[in-house]
Every structure is written in C-alpha cells, then in structure tokens.
Amino acid sequence: MKKILYIFSAALALAATAVSCDLTETQQSTADRAMIFGSETGLETYTNSFYNYLPSTGGGFQMDATSDYGAKNAIGTYESGAYTTETSTSWSWGSIRNVNYFLKYNTNTSISETVRNNYNGIARFFRAYLYYDKLVTYGEVPWIDRPLDTDSEELFAGRDTRDVIITHIIEDLDFAYNNITTSSVTGNSNAINKWTPLFLKSRVCLFEASWRKYHAGTDYVKNCTIKADELFRDAADAAETLMKDGPYKLRTSGTAFGGGRGPYRDLFVSDNTVTQEVMLAVSTDLTLDLGEQNWWYNSSTYGPHLCMSRAFAKTYLNNDGSLYNEKNADGKYKNFVEETAGRDQRLCQTIRGADYTRKNAEGDNERTAPNYSGHTLTGYQFTKYVLDDISFDDAATNYNDIPIFRFAEALLNYAEAKAELGTITDSDWQNTIGALRRRAGITGGDLDTKPTAVDTYLQKTFYPKVSDPVILEIRRDRAIELCLEGLRLDDLKRWNCGNLWEELPWTGVYIPALDTPLDMNGDGVKDVYVTKDKTYKGDYKGIAMFITGAQEIEKLSDDPNGGYILNYNMSRKWNDNMYLYPIPSQVIRKNEALSQNPGW
C-alpha cells in the first residue's frame, strides 16, 4: 500500500511539473501592432486599406444610376418613396474607425515625423472623404475622431452640427494638403497626392455652401452659422490653387471625334488613366481585375438599362454655340440623324449618335444604332464608359480605367463658386466653361465672355428659380461635362432641385412612324419597328420594339407629319424629406440622444 502511495505521489509530481510550463504561442502569419506601426512599409500597407472606400471597379461607372436625366427600368425603395426609417439600415462607421485607429497608433518615433505625417495626411484625407459622404447622406452626424472603446462617452453623444462637421472636414483636408509629400502625378492616378485633398475641398465646400444658400430658411440649415459665401470662397480658393499650382490640365488633344473617340471620351475608355486630367481613378485591368462597364450598359438582363432622357439631351448646344431646337425650320421634328449631327461633341461621346460605330463579331467597324429591341428604353443609349467592341459586352471583361476625380470638375467648381459669389470674370469664364466647350468642339457663342441671355428651355425645365444666365449656363455644362460621374443627385440636393427626380420626363427619341420599319442612323439598315401590337409577327419581328409595360407612346400634335415621342414611366417619387436619409430607427433605439432628420 505504501508503495502505491509513493507511485501516486511521483505521478502527481510529474503532472505538477507539466503545469509549470508556459503555453504561450504567437501567430506567425499575421502581424501585431508593433510590426505595422514600426515601419514605413507597415504604414503604407495600412493606408492601402483606405482605397477600398473609393467606388469599386464594379460600381464606379454606375454612380449616377439615380439621376433625373437617366431613365431606367427598376426603381428602388428610396426612389419610389417607399423608404421608411425601419427599412433603413445603412449607417456604417467601420471605415471611420479604421482611419481613426491608424491615426491613434501612428506614433512610433523611430519613423521620422515627416513620414508619419505624410501617412496621417492620407488618413485624414480619407476621413474627410468618408465624413463628406455622411454629411451628404445624413446631414448632422456625431464627429468621432478616435477609435472608441466600449465605454467611451462619444458612443451616446448626439449629432454634431453641420458647422462642426464641415470645419473638421476642412481641417483634415488642409492637414492632408500640407503634409502629404507626393506632389507629382501618381502612377495611373491610382494613389492620392497633395492635390487630391485640395480638389476634394473645392467639391465639399461648394456642396456645403450651396446647401446653405438654397435651403436657407428650412430646417436643414437651422443650426448653421457659417455663411454660405465663406464656403463658396473656400471652394473657389481651393480650386484656384489647384488650377494655378497643380500639375493637371484639360486634355484637349487626341483623336478628333469621328471614330467614336475624342479627347473627352478618351478619358473614360483608355486602358491607362489619362493622368494629365484624371486626378484619381480606379483601375480595371485585363489580368488583375476586370470591369463590367460594357455588360451593364448593353445587357438585356443585367442592370437597369440606364438611358438618357430626351429632356436632357436637348440641353446640349449646337456646335456653333447656339441653342438646340428640336424642330427644323419647316416645323418638322428632327429625326435622330439630324438631332445628333452638329452638336456639342460630348453628346455623341456620351450616347450612341447616328454615326456611332462598333467593332462587330467579325472585327469590322460597323454603324450601330441604339439597341431598341433589347436594351434602350428611350433610344439614347449611353456609351461614355463603354468600349466600342461588342466582344466586351457579355461579361465582366473591361480593362478601361474609371475616373473618380477629374480636373474638369475643379474648373466647374471654381466657376460656380465664383458665380455664386458674384465675382466671376470673363477671364474666369474663358478658362473654365469656355475651355470645356472649346474642347467639346464648340466654336462660337459664350466662349470668352460670360453669357448674358437666359435659355428659357433650360430654365423652365430644370431651374425655374434661377434667373442668373451665368449660373444657368454653368449648371448646363456641369451636367453635360460630368454626366454619369456620380455628382448629379448631390447637385440636385444642394440646389434644392430634388423634385426633378420625380418631374423630369423620361422621354425618348422622336419616332417618325409606328408599324413601319425605321432606319434611325441613316445607314440603310432598318433598326427598329415600333409597334403597340404585342403579337406582331411580321417581317420586321426581329427588330420590333413592343410598346409594353411602362413604355408609352405619345402622338405629337405639333408635328406636321404625325410623329411620336416615347415616354418611359416609372413610379418615381420625391418628397421634401428625401434631401437627407433618415437615421435608421434601429440606430436611434440604441442611442436615444440621436435626433431624426426633418420629415422622417
């Protein structure tokens, strides 16, 4: 028995020694904080994560999917007015935390302050970028500038005013401008440099200034004390510095328009970013990451078939700088060939015009009319981001880079801010709108001097409350130049023109006759046979465009030859509370200190 006890004791002792061993194991295939913040490579690797917040290769070309001028066949809940505070969920703060975490821990003194500040500058640029999005979407939001702990007071803070948010955004952008060390153009414009914050500052300040001006007197600006003019000045100053000191300029040379390309269009269909003008781009690449621009703008099944409205197409000037008239001298409506000829070249570089050609399956360039039977709802089919080769149409195969920030916008921002301030000069005009119109092949009209006459069509259809011809003309060119580039809805919001979303008619091309084969682009091939007869099975059944569902066709009473205009009806809805998204109810339930936006 004693022996047994000895043995047991020995065994226990053995077991006890095991207990004393240290069991700590550390991971080798992931890094710890010291590794990331202890080297410049670590800092760069971390800041690379911020680029994920830019529009993606799959989304960068569809950012204007909700815009007054873009007809489409699918309407989301927000767009149809069916949105509620309960359905709303998108209130994400993960990206802001990620930036703040970086700013908190980028303190390792073994790295020089210049280097650390360079990366802090990049981080603060992205924080401003993210907060700008919050400002546009929700208005007043809490300002959070550090990674919160589970017991931080800020968790239960209320919303900060627009003054607080815009001030911090400007601070971040100024810091970024002053501390980012790269001042040259970056490779493919994929990375930001010191000019990028300056550019963003002109955009943000212009937005906030116009918001304050055009929503004056409403609940949207009730806590605002910073004056609109102050912000217009910031916008103009930022743009002016960029124009004066920065390395960017408009791309004016390049293939003349004709083969579907030109200096303007090149910006959107180039394999490599046109870095002369494009300040920031997301790249798509044949082997690394393919885009789907062609697929989305041409598929009969994928995407909402976004197409331009005739109401907007009419705002493009003639190439001599005169206003476009949809009728010929004889009172007849212009057909599609007549309509797209002799216009501001940006029209036929944004949509398929009559002379549009595509590379067909055999590899030959072929005159190609808009695809009435499968894709287009209005007849104005977008081509801005689309490669002119049908072999890219069926899947995600695009390689052309997608511009996100473009120098041309800085010119527009500058002109608009100066015009709103009332200080715009003829020389300002010449360097901005004038330059853009010249590039678009416009030879006359208001190129060197400020416009003086109001285009009543533009005013009546879009901006009835604006009487200043300079502002009206700037808005005309802004919409045309930046068409599909993701700014239109924000512009409508800051101009207090949200109603255009509901009201601008989604009209289509002029249809000379029904139940008749039509050659729309004048190449001798019949392109479409418009019919209300859903059971039509005649000779032209292959190109038949059946007037179905949401499409309507309206007979024109003032066309001597009895033509028709298509109209695409969807249940668009704009309510006055829609200028801001609601704070989701489930968010407020978690923090009762958060107030709700007006009208929700």
């Binding site: 043995i7 077991a15 690797t45 994920n52 935390r97 990620n98 968790l155 009969s300």
Partner: protein, 1090 residues
C-alpha cells in the same frame, strides 16, 4: 433484383427443411432447467439434435421430450450458452445453464480504460464492428450515421469523400462551437481517414462525467474508436470484398423540351419586367420573333440550327437554335458507378509476439459521364500492430498506420467556383443544343457542361497520413497496479491542386472563342500538420473486505500540433495539358500566400471508482488543464465531475422475478467542462494581410484595424446533468437504456452588449451567452432465438430515439431584434433553429380582393399592401400572387420593428433543427442465412429553401433557370386557381429573396425515413469449405440508401431529403441543392477467413 433475392431465400429454406434427417427409436426424457442461481428457466428451447423434435420448458423450467437414448439434446436460450447434452440412456436430465456474457458483462471502452457495462455510471453507448461489416460506403463516418442515438452526423451529399463533424447531443455552443472529440486508439484523429474494417468498437461518451477525463478537449463528448487487436493463436487470414454499383438516389426531372422551356422563360421574364428580354441570360439570344418561329417549328417538328441573317432579333452570323430539347442536368451522370473495396487482414500470435496486419483498397469509379474528366476516388489504408511481451510485467506495442486518398473532382470554368449544378441552372438552356452543326460547342454548353465534355478543369485533393503510436504496459502486484504510456507522432499532408483551362466554343459560324475573362491556371496548396502526443497514466485497483471495490488513476497528457501551408497560383499555362505549375508562364496575377498555426495542451487527470457490493457505484473525475489557445493568465483551469449508479436489482429486497425484470439500474452524473476546442489565436489582436486595389498596375496588399478584443476573456463551460436508467426484462431479452440530460453551456463567447453604431466595429465578443440544451436518448433492444425447423433462429430488433432542443438563456440582444433572414438573431428565450415567417393561407384569386387590400393599405398610410415583396417591377399585386395574412391587422404586410415583441406579420412558423431522430435495426440469422436491415430517420424538421434553391423554385428564382417538371400545370392561372405555385413569374420575391420571406405555404416538411442499409447473406456450410481449408466463407448482398420517404417527396423527388444543406462544399457557390447527389448502392460481398 429484390425478386431474385426473395427467390434465393425461399430456396434456402426449402433446402433446409428437406435436409432434415429421420429419427430412430425413442423414449422420453424430462427434467428441469435452471440458471446459475437455481432459478427455473421458462421458455428454454430443447431439441433433439439432428431432428425436428423440440419443445420448450414450462414456467417451472420443466420439459418433457421424446428422444432416443443415443441422441443428443440441445438446450438453447437467449442469454445463455447453448449446451449439447448426450442422453446416454437417461430419462431425467436436469440442467443448470451457463449465462452467456450478456450485455451486462459486455466490456465498454471508456476514457483511459474499459469498464463492464454493468458498472457504468455515465452515459456511454457502444457499437462494435457489426456496424461496419459488409457496408458499401466509402468511409467510417458514412457508416456510423444513425447508428448511435444522439451521435449526430450530417452527411450533406453523396461524394465518396464526404464526412461530417461529430456532434453529440445537439447544439453545443453558439459561441466557439465545438464538436465531439474523436480519438482513434486514444489519440485525436480524423475517422474519415480510417479503414472501417480495422475498427473493433466505437464508444460514445455522452455526458460530462464520462468525458471529463479528457478535460477541456471534450466538453461536448468523446467518440472513442478502437481498432482491432491481434488475435491470439494461429494466424487468421481474412479477406473481404464488396463489388458495388451506385446510382443517384434522386435524379432531378426538369423540363427538357426546348420550346416549352423557352416559352416559360419568356412568361417568367415578362411577368416580372413587363418588357421583352433580348437574351436568355448570357448564352442565348432572345426575341419574341424567335420564340414565335420556335413555336411553329416545334409544332411541325422542324427543329434545327440556322445561321442568323439578322432576323429573329439575332445578330447576323450567329447560330440560331430551334432545338428539340437538351436535358443538361440529365446528361452529366453515368447510369451507374462501379466501386469496389478489398480488405485483407492477418492476425495471430507466436509466443511472446503478436501481430495484426491489414490493408484496404477502396476505389470509386466516378459519377460524371465524361470521357476525360469524371470524378474518381481512391483510398488506401495500411496498418501494422505488433506487440511483444518482453517480461511478464511488461509489454510493448507499436501501432503504425498509413493512409492515402485522392479525389479528382471535375469543375466548370465559366462563372463562380465551378459548381456544375449551379452552372446548369444559369446557362444550361434546354432550348440550346450542346453542339453546333460544325462540331463546335455552343455557348450554353460551354458555360454549363463544357468542362465535363472535353474539358480539363478540375480539383485534385490528396491526403496522406502516417501515424505511429508506441505504447508500453506494465503491471505489478497481480495486475492490480498498472502503468500505461504511449507516445504518438502523426504527420498529415493535404495537397490540393486546382487546374482550370479555357474551353473553346462558338457563337458565330466560323469563329471559335473562349469565355472572356478566363485564364488557364494552376493553383496548389500544400498543407502539413505535424502532431505529437503522449498519454501516461497509472492505475491501481483492488477489492477490500470482499465488498469494497476501489480503482484509482492518475495521468498526464500532452498534445502539440503545428500546421503550415503554402498556396501558389500561376496562370497562362503553356498548353492545356500542363500538369505542373512550373509550366505556367504567369501574369501579374500570380500569387503566393501562407498560413501557420500551432497549439499545445497539457492535462493532469485523476479518476476514482468505488463500488460497494456491486450495488452502489461512484466515480469521481478531475482534470487540471492548460491550453495555448488562451492568453497567459487564462491558460489553466480545473474541471471536475462525479457520477453514481445504483443497481436496484442487486438489492436483496428486490424480489421481482428475474424472468420479468432482470436488471434495473439508476444512474446520475454531473460535470463541468471548459471548452478549448477553439481556433488558435482567437484572443489576439492581429493584423492580417489581404489583397486590395490596383495601384499603379499592381494589386497591392493591405491591412486594417483588428477586431477589438476585450481583456477579460475566459473559458466557455458546459455543465451537464445526466440521469439514466438501464433495464432488462425477460432475462435481458428486452433491454432498455434511457438517458435524459440537461446541458447548460455558460459564458459562451458571443457578441458583446449592443453598442451604438458609431463604435465602428461589432461589439467585442466576450463570455456573455448562456444556453440550455435538453434532450434524451432511448434505445430498446429485443434479442431472442427460437428453433425453426430444429435450427436456431436468432433475431434482434434495436430501436433508438433521440431528441434535443436548445434554448438561449442569455444573449446580448436587449431589444430582441430579429434577423432579416429566417434564422433570427439570437435572443433570450429563443429556441435554436426557429424560422420566422409570414402566414399564407393561399393565393390571391381576384383583382377585387387585391383592390380592397391596397385601398386599406393606402388608408393606413402605405403605398402598397405588401411593400416588402414586390412580385414585379411595379410593386403591384396580381391574382395568383401569394396572399400573406396581415397578422397584426395594421392594413399592410410588414415586419414591424423586426423584434420579437413587434414582429409585424411574422411569427415562428417552424424550426430547422432535426427532432426525434430514430433508427431501427433488424437482424436475423438462421441456418447460415443472415439478414439485417437498418432504418434511420428524422421525425420532424422544417426547411424553407433559400433564395438560390432553384432546384425547387425553378424559373421563379431566375427566369432562365431549369424548370422542374412537377411545376408544369401546377402554377396559378385563371383556369388553374388551386395550383400549388403562384402565378408564373421570375425573380419572384418571396422565393427569390428566399428565407427572408419565409411563409407557411411553402415551408417544407423534411422529416424522413430511410432504409440506410440492408444485408442478406449466406455463410457457406463449414463441411463444404473446410475441405478446401477455409474457416468461414460468406456471400452477401448489401445495399445503402435503398429507400427513402419524406413528406417533401409528395411535392418533388428532385432533391434528396438529406441533401438540402447548401452547396457542394468544395466548389462553393450559394444555393440549396447544388450538390453531388446522394447515392444508392447495391453491392455483392464476399468474406473469406482461413
């Protein structure tokens, strides 16, 4: 097939009856038969050997039989050894029968030792090699399914490689999760890699008390697999084989008529979009003109392929198909797959030396009907176990095994991860043929079945494992004191190669293309896991003063595992036949990544057993455990358990007749165990590196802020109470074992308290959750034998039933918010698995009713009656749409605040967890003929197919999907108002959005019963085989998954009822039922022993 088997059985019986010999001169013999305790035995069969004369003993154990003086009486009775007694002229023969080692005497493998079943105090169940013998399945897990109540194995499809995680008694933890610890010969291992024929027994330790000796490695039970030991004596050679034919248990039946399908495509598309499509998804052009032409041609049988002249809305030069019909889903399988297994073992002893040597080959021919690219599977196992008795008190044993398996899995290369079933749904249009007239492949075919017809795209997976366990057993003091030590080293390598090559096809005459955006590439993953462990324990057992039995054990366990892998990808293969990554020329996309992890665990454990007069049984366990998976300061913890048993039937006052109640034992146990079955480094803040955007022509790497980790983390703990009863009736012919348990999993590592969103991360996880799982298992077994035609007929029936239900006791969800999916977010009081959904009692039948509802919704301030689910682009409702009930009577369909208390029009409509899992095992043996049948099933389970379950929803999912045949004529039209399916519409939100729109009308009942295995065999009479020197030869038929019935099958048999869980695990891509089919196997087997 069955007819034939039936005939054979009849023949056997006939022969047996015929062969009975005649009797000679007789007198009568009488006597009394008793058991060892002189208690008379009733019902004992007494037969004059070699004749059909027989009788059974009466209630007093007495019998009277006519038998000649020279004859031999054979006494047999269940639970007792059959005895032959020569009459030798006597007229009275009393006999005391010897009890067989009954169930109660059975030795059960428990943690670090064995125990007599009679002495068990915990909940332990055990099956033996019977479960694995003659089964045609590929691996151990597949054979174990359903064999042990509450050992839950979810085999989700029919791939030969498919295994499952081992779950015991239901939901373990909603935090760190955790499955059962599986030990093979005492060392953690993967049962899938084991030779089924090597297995001697599988023991399942279900309650905490039984498994607590394994401490934190085993909070949710232990499965102990013990391999066969050497047989003592002369070498025994045993060979067994199965020759197997397999076919899919369920073959989906889709509409294959091209025009019918295309017409339904158009209807489904138009009814949602109110516009005409210009293509059938990507691969075929569409226009109404083409459809009209197609209709005419179909009516006249004038099918064919044309080259487009630009009419019919098709591009000039493109192939235009007026196809009779292609059954893409039906063309990919062979009629039958041939598989085979061969197993050879040699076992014996020679003096101090004993050995067991075995080898197995399993080969599976592959299901896919492809000349170049079918799937095939091979598995090879080898084992050598040698023991040497060095001294009387010392024996060393070495147990070495090696395995290799290789699975070749063809994949598609068009979209997604290569899931053939998904690709068929997307692009395998019945309206398109597979081949163009010029012999090129069509666009539809290349997108769907192309890689299977002449492609070369595939996954190859190879596992290699070498394991060696060296152990020593020492015993002293008459074997009262024993030392055991073992040391194991295992090296497991996993290799996966993915190769995908572009397949040519043609859309336009004279133009061959490959799918744009695809690159031919090879990727390789090599993963090496090195594992070592040692178990060392000493035990002492003795009996003091006759009635006090004592056993004590102290031991030590150490385990260490390190894993390293390397992944490489490169593209631009030199040619399509390239097999090595070195011949991939490469683009900027090439990539190399690695992974690494290591963990160690240490445990010191002790167990005490005490028994008083075999009546009162007590067991205490304790273990002090350390694991590297926790941060320092939290690495060590102590866990204890206790169990007790009371053999009521051994009490002197328990006077119930043994013939009635032969055994009655009550058991109870309680234990608390920590959970260290978590992934390593869960508690470290770590910065991973991922691939981000293209910056200046390169895909850059990025890292970002780590998941916030709080400081005060500790172990999850499972506390289990188990109460059990063991009963034997009618001398243990009928035995019942029942256990009820209550397992509280506390401090589950789950999301933290809800934080305002500005926190910017999900609330740091912590030990916040509690859950209770209650359940039971019952197994009832009847074993008996009687004489049929003077030959013993033995038979048995075992029925089991198991159930569990988990309820959340504590969870950080103060508002009781529900998820948007049918699987609600957890909340206090929630039953795990519940499905929240709407109530639907039918379809809208007329516009007037809809108008009334829409008007009411407008009055309630809503734009639509059902704003959640538009069934077309206009948000309108139409006759034939599903009618949801406005449960909260607010005038429209809503989810309220989407909380339990304000759930709008949703309520709990079902539960996804299986309930009442049962099995029946029937077996009988007579005159060398044996039959066994194993049924298994689930008593109650609900399923709401997910949005991507197009194999059920068909074109309601996407208009271009396959159309299940059962839907034809079974959807709502004005003339068919009581159809099951709603009006025919694609993108039909209640289905397309799947489970978030779950509703009662389309909730599926997936309970089932299945004939899992049936065996019928014959042992050749020994007088035949002994002549050629054989000991035993049996031939048999064995079949798996022969028959299944489920309420789901009233609707459709397109999917196997147990194959509803998502997608092919290797080629992942969303969608229920996009899976390798469950297979039905028919096998002929042969066993030879000599």
């Amino acid at each position: 097939m069955f007819k034939k088997i039936h005939l054979t059985i009849c023949l056997f019986i006939f022969m047996a009856v015929f062969s009975m010999s005649a009797q000679n001169g007789t007198n009568s013999v009488s006597g009394v038969v008793t058991d060892g305790n002189k208690v008379p035995l009733a019902g004992v069969s007494v037969v004059v050997k070699g004749t059909k004369i027989g009788t059974t003993t009466g209630t007093n154990g007495d019998y009277l039989i006519r038998a000649s003086g020279k004859s031999v009486l054979q006494f047999s009775f269940i639970g007792f050894e059959t005895q032959d007694v020569p009459v030798e002229g006597r007229s009275k023969i009393d006999l005391s029968m010897k009890e067989k080692s009954t169930a109660l005497n059975e030795i059960v493998v428990v943690g670090y030792g064995t125990q007599k079943k009679a002495n068990l105090t915990g909940a332990v169940d055990q099956v033996t090699s019977d479960v694995f013998e003659g089964r045609p399945s590929a691996n151990v897990t597949q054979m174990l399914q359903g064999a042990i109540p509450n050992l839950n194995l979810k085999i989700t499809d029919g791939k030969p490689t498919r295994s499952a995680s081992y779950n015991i008694r239901g939901t373990t933890s909603i935090g760190q999760g955790g499955s059962a610890l599986v030990l093979i010969d005492g060392v953690e291992g993967d049962p899938r890699l084991l030779n089924p024929d090597d297995i001697a027994s599988v023991s399942v330790l279900k309650d905490a008390a039984s498994s607590s000796i394994y401490g934190s490695r085993a909070p949710y039970g232990v499965v102990l697999i013990t391999t066969k030991n050497a047989k003592s004596g002369q070498a025994v050679v045993s060979y067994s084989t199965n020759l197997i034919l397999e076919t899919p248990a369920n073959q989906p039946e889709y509409v294959s008529d091209g025009y019918t399908w295309a017409d339904h495509f158009y209807t489904a598309y138009y009814n949602y979009n109110h516009s005409n499509p210009s293509g059938i998804n990507k691969s075929q052009q569409f226009s109404t003109a083409w459809l009209a032409e197609y209709k005419e041609r179909a009516a006249s049988g004038n099918y064919g392929t044309e080259v487009s002249d630009g009419s019919w809305g098709t591009t000039k030069g493109r192939w235009v198909y007026f196809n009779k019909g292609t059954d893409y889903a039906g063309m990919i399988y062979k009629d039958a797959v041939f598989a085979q297994s061969h197993n050879l073992s040699i076992s014996g002893s020679e003096g101090k030396f004993d050995y067991y040597l075995s080898g197995r080959f399993y080969g599976y021919g592959g299901l896919f009907d492809s000349p170049s690219n079918t799937d095939d599977y091979k598995m090879i196992n080898g084992r050598l176990k040698v023991g040497y008795q060095i001294k009387k008190w010392l024996k060393i044993t070495d147990n070495f095994d090696i395995m290799h398996d290789k699975y070749h899995n063809p994949v598609t290369y068009s979209e997604g991860n290569g899931n053939i079933w998904r690709n068929i749904f997307d692009e395998g249009h019945p309206s398109s043929p597979v081949w163009n007239p010029d012999g090129t492949m069509t666009y539809s075919a290349v997108y769907s079945v192309g890689d299977f017809l002449y492609g070369n795209s595939r996954h190859t997976r190879i596992n290699d494992q070498v394991r060696n366990t060296l152990s020593a057993k020492l015993n002293f003091l008459d074997n009262k004191l024993r030392f055991n030590a073992d040391f194991t080293y295992r090296d497991k390598t996993y290799y996966r190669q993915i190769k995908r090559v572009r397949t040519p096809y043609s859309r336009y005459q004279n133009k061959v293309e490959t799918i744009s955006g695809t690159q031919s590439y090879i990727s390789e993953l090599t993963q090496d896991t090195k594992y070592l462990s040692t178990n060392d324990y000493v035990e002492y057992e003795d009996t003091f003063g006759e009635s006090h039995y004592f056993k004590g054990m102290v031991g030590y366990n150490y385990e260490q595992s390190s894993m390293k892998n390397l992944y490489a990808y490169n593209d631009e293969l030199l040619t399509e036949d390239v097999e090595n990554i070195n011949l991939a020329l490469g683009t900027e996309k090439r990539s190399i990544t690695g992974e690494w992890n290591k963990w160690r665990s240490v445990g010191a454990f002790s167990r005490l057993n005490y028994m008083f007069k075999d009546k009162y049984l007590v067991e205490l366990n304790g273990r002090y455990d350390g694991s590297s998976k926790f941060r320092s300061g939290e690495q060590w913890a102590f866990f204890a358990s206790a169990s007790a048993g009371w053999r009521v039937s051994s009490e002197p006052w328990f006077k119930v007749d043994k013939n009635a109640i032969s055994n009655l034992k009550l058991r109870a146990s309680y234990g608390s165990l920590g959970n260290s079955n978590i992934s390593a480094y869960s508690f470290d803040e770590s910065f991973g590196v991922s691939t981000g955007r293209i910056i200046n022509g390169t895909l850059v790497k990025y890292t970002d802020s780590p998941t916030p980790i709080p400081d005060n983390l500790t172990w999850e703990t499972a506390k289990t109470v188990d109460v059990g009863i063991d009963m034997g009736f009618l001398r243990d012919r009928l035995t019942v074992v029942a256990d009820w348990y209550d397992r509280k999993t506390v401090d589950m590592y789950i999301v933290g308290p809800t934080l305002p969103d500005v926190y910017g991360a999900s609330s740091p996880k912590g030990n916040y959750g509690d859950m209770t799982t209650k359940g039971y298992e019952i197994s009832i077994e009847w074993r008996d034998e009687f004489n049929l035609a003077s030959k013993p007929f033995t038979y048995g029936i075992r029925a089991t039933l198991a159930d569990y239900k988990s309820v959340i006791d504590k969870y950080n969800n103060s508002t009781k918010a529900l998820g948007t999916d049918n699987n609600a977010d957890y909340y206090e009081g929630m039953t795990v698995g519940e499905i929240w959904g709407f109530v639907s009692n039918g379809l809208w039948q007329n516009q007037e009713d809809i108008d009334v509802a829409e008007a009411a919704a407008k009055a309630a301030g809503q734009s639509y009656y059902n704003p959640l689910m538009r069934t077309d682009k206009k948000y309108s409702l139409y006759p034939g749409d599903i009618k949801f009930e406005d449960l909260n009577k607010n005038g429209y369909i809503d989810r309220g605040a989407n909380t339990v208390d304000d759930s709008g029009d949703r309520k709990v409509i079902g539960n996804t967890e299986p309930r009442y899992m049962y099995s029946f095992n029937l077996n009988a043996e007579w005159n060398n003929i044996f039959v066994s049948a194993f049924f298994q099933g689930v008593g109650k389970q609900d399923w709401f197919p997910s949005n991507e379950a197009a194999s059920l929803w068909g074109q309601y999912n996407r208009p271009y999907a396959q159309m299940p045949k059962w839907q034809v004529g079974n959807y709502w039209t004005e003339d068919n108002t009581d159809a099951y399916m709603p009006r025919y519409t694609g993108y039909y939100t209640p289905f397309y959005k799947g489970s978030s729109c779950a509703n009662t009308r389309y909730l599926q009942d997936v309970s089932y019963i299945r004939l899992k295995n049936l065996q019928i065999g014959y042992n050749l009479p020994s007088k035949w085989i002994s002549k050629i020197g054989l000991n035993k030869v049996s031939v048999f038929f064995s079949g798996d998954n022969l028959w299944t019935w489920s309420p789901l099958y009233r609707l459709t048999k397109d999917i196997d009822v147990a194959n509803i869980y998502g997608t092919d695990a290797e080629a992942s891509s969303t969608g229920d039922g996009y899976n390798y089919p469950t297979m039905t196997s028919y096998s002929l087997g042969l066993n030879i022993t000599f």
